[in-house]
């Protein structure tokens, strides 16, 4: 691989002085990938592509957007009505946020099922968790920018959460707002941060890939690559597979952007922010609903900890706990395919996430409250109790001796989906 000589003299001239083409060739063409990756492995590259789409559309929107409480809502309408194809750029950006989360959540569930967080990929996984956190901050600040009713009240509710921190909470909130309520300084800094953070994500994605390419991709069998017979070069095999996957994603993504652009949105955000009028139901965007449910599940104080503070801790904890996952799941077997008991709890965990989402979208009253508490308990129980115990008590199935062997014996093996 390293022996490759570039034909074009210009390319060779550059490459000898700074081997950027060799680097790209090594990582985008020759990168040895397990030959048995299934379609769940498409979502990483899809997330990268959606990130680029978001940055490009976002830059064009920023050229026409005005970050001021008196003009923000109007400037968005101007983009929708008077800027050439402004409506298209905005709809793609708006729906792109939702599709970014859909793709990334699938990517994360894939990692959870196939044990992609286990040694030697712990750091790769942790960088991914940080990316998720920055992504959420980006989405949250971005949702405030159109300055609709839900923008304003969502920002008010979420920033007010920090007031639950003992002693300094109220001061922190004033510091975050840059004033005594969500107002023009808040909008301005949110715009600045919303423009900054995608580039931080971009840099983190490079670290994520660096860690990935150092320890190589996991695969549906969760066993190590034993030699060249187990791998195929990234290009053309996975470039074409990823392109096909991109096509499928675009059908849905563009389908929603063109034909149901408001599907993921809230009607309230088509009304300009009014600090004097609270909407009947303040709900975050759908991708935050499970975490919103966890936040609201705490309706009781424990000792000196207020319910509000507990909710805030649990909400942030629900994501931060993922950082410790490599050490909570002690089972040496990576892939859920060979873990009969884990499999059941994993799918319950997925179902539970959807339940949390539905709970988060409904008012915190009646049977929704105990349901939110049960789902929150399962969410944390999965990481803190079930996974550690399974590592001790579960009897995993026998692992195939190598990827290529499992691929060749397709049809008789316990791994029916292993190969294409």
């Amino acid at each position: 691989m390293a022996e490759y000589t570039w034909k074009s003299p210009t390319v060779r001239w550059v490459d000898e002085r700074m081997p950027v083409f060799t680097l790209m060739r090594e990582h985008l063409v020759d990168y040895p990938s397990p030959k048995n990756l299934n379609y769940w492995w498409n979502f990483g590259s899809l997330a990268g592509i959606v990130l680029v789409i978001m940055i490009v559309t976002g830059i064009f929107l920023a050229m026409h957007y005005t970050a001021h409480v008196d003009h923000a809502f109007e400037s968005v309408q101007r983009i929708m009505r008077d800027v050439n194809y402004g409506w298209l750029v905005r709809y793609i950006h708006m729906n792109g946020a939702s599709f970014f989360f859909i793709v990334v959540y699938i990517h994360i569930f894939r990692g959870l099922y196939y044990g992609s967080y286990k040694p030697p990929r712990e750091l790769l996984w942790m960088i991914g968790v940080i990316i998720l956190l920055v992504m959420m901050a980006t989405a949250f600040t971005g949702y405030v920018l159109p300055w609709g009713q839900m923008s304003f009240w969502g920002a008010t509710v979420i920033t007010s959460l920090f007031s639950a921190i003992p002693l300094v909470g109220d001061d922190i909130v004033v510091w975050l707002w840059g004033g005594f309520s969500v107002d023009n300084p808040t909008l301005n800094r949110f715009f600045a941060l919303h423009y900054l953070m995608p580039f931080i994500i971009f840099a983190l994605v490079f670290l994520h890939l660096w860690a990935l390419h150092t320890k190589k991709s996991n695969n549906p069998l969760g066993i190590d690559i034993k030699g060249p017979q187990d791998t195929i070069p990234f290009s053309p095999y996975y470039t074409i597979k990823d392109l096909f996957g991109l096509g499928v994603l675009l059908i849905f993504f563009l389908g929603f952007s063109f034909f149901a652009p408001d599907f993921f949105g809230e009607p309230d955000n088509y009304m300009k922010a009014d600090p004097l009028q609270t909407p009947a139901h303040i709900v975050p965007e759908w991708y935050f609903l499970p975490f919103y449910a966890i936040l609201r599940a705490f309706t009781f104080d424990i000792w000196f900890l207020s319910a509000k503070l507990l909710g805030v801790i649990a909400m942030f904890g629900s994501i931060l706990i993922l950082l410790f996952l490599p050490w909570l799941d002690r089972s040496p077997v990576r892939s859920g395919r060979f873990r009969p008991v884990f499999k059941v709890f994993f799918w319950l965990f997925v179902l539970n996430c959807f339940v949390l989402g539905v709970v988060g979208g409904n008012p915190a009253e009646g049977f929704w409250i105990p349901l939110s508490q049960a789902s929150t308990a399962y969410y944390f129980g999965y990481f803190l109790v079930i996974l550690p115990l399974l590592g001790i008590f579960e009897k995993p199935l026998a692992l195939p001796s190598s990827i290529s062997e499992a691929v060749v014996s397709k049809g008789h093996s316990p791994v029916p989906e292993a190969a294409e």
């Binding site: 030959k35 299934n38 379609y39 109007e74 309408q77 929708m80 009505r81 409506w87 298209l88 709809y91 195929i232 053309p236 095999y237 074409i240 597979k241 392109l243 096909f244 096509g247 499928v248 675009l250 059908i251 849905f252 563009l254 389908g255 952007s257 063109f258 034909f259 652009p261 408001d262 009607p267 309230d268 088509y270 009304m271 009947a280 139901h281 759908w286 959807f354 989402g357 539905v358 979208g361 409904n362 691929v407 060749v408 397709k410 989906e417 190969a419 294409e420």
Partner: protein, 255 residues
């Protein structure tokens, strides 16, 4: 391979259905109407749009602003530039300051916004018994099931409230308004607006035309969006098919 996709698609569909129904449960859903502008190939009925604009002019605009519509936009409901100019001239807008530093009134031009009925919220409330008539150009998107909701609201007045409802002074009973008491007097009456094209002059027809007009003010890009969308999505489907064939071919030597 195919079964995997079917499973994926079925899961996605199930998730969408479950979540949509879970969230739709909040408010009573207004009865669904048939709108020519919904669906992949939807277009606005030009006649209905223009009649709807007439209804807006005669029944709504004395209280409600249409903030995001300029007269020039009205070519989008099928009016010629000359007709738009003539309509604009019927409105007075404030301009200035002139060379002496004074503001002055002049006839509107196509480049002007449709002027709001009140200079500010306080003036609007003062003239409307304390209520603030909302801006209408985004109304159909600012409510759940907006088109059906506005139609239901406009046709949902009842002369006599049900016996268990105590109306507050100056309020009207409307089945579809949240809380069922609305400060807006019934705006539409049978025969009150004269149509020149012979369309029925009923409250239902007025409401239907007005909703068509407001659907356009909320999404003036809708027709272009649908036209372009069909082409783009068809293109991507064909491209994806080709990419799939190529993927099959490239992968045929693996295993």
């Amino acid at each position: 391979m195919l079964t995997k996709f079917t499973t994926l698609a079925a899961t996605a569909l199930a998730v969408v259905t479950v979540t949509t129904t879970a969230f739709a449960a909040e408010a009573p859903r207004p009865p669904a109407q048939e709108w020519g502008f919904s669906g992949l190939f939807g277009t606005f009925d030009r006649g209905a749009q223009q009649r709807g604009f007439q209804v807006f002019q005669q029944a709504c605009q004395s209280c409600h602003a249409l903030e995001f519509i300029h007269f020039r936009n009205l070519t989008g409901i099928g009016l010629s530039p000359e007709e738009v100019e003539a309509i604009a001239e019927g409105y007075q807008v404030e301009d200035g300051p002139d060379d002496l530093g004074d503001m002055f009134m002049r006839a509107a031009r196509p480049a002007d916004r449709i002027p709001p009925p009140f200079p500010n919220e306080q003036a609007a409330r003062a003239a409307n018994n304390g209520a603030y008539p909302p801006e209408l150009s985004l109304m159909t998107r600012a409510r759940f099931f907006g088109h059906d909701y506005v139609y239901a609201l406009l046709t949902g007045y009842r002369d006599e409230p049900p016996e268990d409802v105590e109306l507050m002074p100056g309020m009207y009973f409307n089945e579809w308004f949240p809380g069922q008491q609305i400060a807006m007097a019934p705006p539409l009456f049978e025969g009150a607006i004269t149509y020149e094209d012979g369309s029925p002059e009923t409250v239902e027809q007025y409401a239907r035309d007005l909703v068509t007009f407001l659907a356009w003010t909320a999404e003036p890009e809708l027709e272009e969006r649908n036209r372009l969308g069909v082409k783009v999505v068809l293109f991507v489907i064909v491209l994806t098919g080709l990419l799939f064939a190529l993927k099959k071919k490239i992968w045929s030597d693996v295993h």
